[in-house]
C-alpha cells in the first residue's frame, strides 16, 4: 500500500506529468500518425482492466491486444497498444525510480517488485484515464470531419 507521501507525489505527477503526456500521446497518434481514435469497445476494456486489476494483468492485456492479428481496418489499435506498452515499460523500468523518485530505499527485491507493481497500477490508471478522456474529444473531431 503506497504511503501518503507517495500518494501525494502521484497526485502531483498526475496533474503535471501524466495528464500532459497522455494528451500529447493520443494527439500524436491521431493527428500526426493519422491513427483513428480508440473505439468505444476498446476504451471500455482498457479502462475496466486499468481500474480493477493489478498492473501485471494490465500488462498482459496490453501485450495480448498488441499481439493480436488485427484486420487491416483495425491496425491503428495495434499501433496504439504497441506505443502504450513501450511508454509504460519505460515508466516502470526507468522513470519510476530515476525521475519520479517513487520507490522507497532499503526494500528486499520481492518487496521492491511488489511496490513497483502497486505504484505502476496507480500511475497507469491515471495515464489511461487521461488518455481515454482526450480520446473522446478526438473522436468527436474526427466524426465532424467525416
Amino acid at each position: 500500500m503506497p504511503s501518503l507521501e507517495q500518494l501525494q507525489k502521484i497526485w502531483n505527477l498526475s496533474d503535471t506529468v501524466l495528464y500532459p503526456e497522455a494528451v500529447a500521446f493520443i494527439r500524436r497518434l491521431v493527428n500526426e500518425q493519422e491513427c483513428s481514435p480508440l473505439p468505444t469497445s476498446q476504451v471500455m476494456g482498457l479502462l475496466n482492466i486499468a481500474n480493477a486489476r493489478s498492473y501485471g494483468e494490465l500488462e498482459r492485456f496490453i501485450r495480448h491486444q498488441r499481439e493480436r492479428d488485427w484486420q487491416e481496418s483495425k491496425k491503428d489499435i495495434k499501433t496504439l497498444y504497441t506505443e502504450l506498452e513501450k511508454l509504460l515499460t519505460t515508466m516502470k523500468n526507468r522513470r519510476l525510480k530515476d525521475e519520479f523518485h517513487l520507490l522507497r530505499e532499503g526494500l528486499s527485491s520481492r518487496e521492491a517488485r511488489q511496490e513497483s507493481d502497486e505504484l505502476m497500477a496507480m500511475l497507469s490508471r491515471e495515464f489511461i484515464q487521461h488518455l481515454v478522456a482526450e480520446n473522446g474529444l478526438l473522436a468527436l473531431g474526427q466524426a465532424r470531419r467525416k
Binding site: W11, D15, Q129, L140
Partner: protein, 156 residues
C-alpha cells in the same frame, strides 16, 4: 498567517477578478444544459469539490463533452459568448487550462512558492484546485439564477 490561509486569501481576491467570466459561463451553461441536464453541472461541482487532482476535473469535462450530441449540451455554443462558435465544454476546458492556470502561477509567485520540491508542487495543486472550485461555484450559482429568472430563450 499560515500558507493555507494565504492561499485562500489570494484565491478570494482572484475570484473577484474572474467573477464576470464565471457569470458568462453560467449563462452559457444555462443556455446549453437547461434544466434537464442540471445533474451534469452539479456533477461537475461535486467533482471539483472532492477532486484531489485538477486533471480529474478536466477529464470530467471532456467526458461530458464527448457524450453530448452534436450542437447540444456541452457541445452547444452560445450567441452571447465572446466566441459565439465555441461550445460550452471546450470553452470551459480552455478557460480552466489556460486562464486559471495563469492565475495559479501568479498566486504561487506572489506567495513565493516554487516548483522544485514535492511540497511546492502540492501547494500549487492546492491553489489550482481552490481557484477551480471558486470559479465553478460562481458559475453554478449563475446557472441557477438564469434558469430561475429566465433570461435565455432556451434556458427559460
Amino acid at each position: 498567517m499560515n500558507i493555507e490561509m494565504q492561499i485562500i486569501r489570494e484565491v478570494n481576491i482572484q475570484a473577484e477578478n474572474f467573477y464576470d467570466d464565471a457569470i458568462g459561463f453560467g449563462n452559457h451553461a444555462a443556455y446549453a444544459l437547461r434544466k434537464e441536464h442540471r445533474s451534469q453541472l452539479t456533477g461537475l461541482e461535486n467533482i471539483a469539490n472532492s477532486a484531489l487532482k485538477v486533471a480529474d476535473i478536466l477529464d470530467y469535462i471532456k467526458r461530458q463533452t464527448a457524450r453530448s450530441k452534436e450542437s447540444e449540451g456541452w457541445r452547444q455554443s452560445f450567441p452571447q459568448a465572446a466566441n459565439q462558435r465555441e461550445a460550452f465544454g471546450p470553452a470551459l476546458l480552455r478557460y480552466l487550462e489556460e486562464e486559471l492556470h495563469k492565475k495559479h502561477n501568479s498566486i504561487a509567485r506572489r506567495l513565493g512558492i516554487g516548483d522544485q520540491t514535492d511540497e511546492d508542487r502540492q501547494l500549487r495543486r492546492s491553489i489550482y484546485l481552490h481557484l477551480i472550485r471558486q470559479f465553478v461555484r460562481q458559475m453554478v450559482i449563475q446557472y441557477e439564477y438564469w434558469l430561475t429568472v429566465g433570461n435565455g430563450k432556451k434556458g427559460a
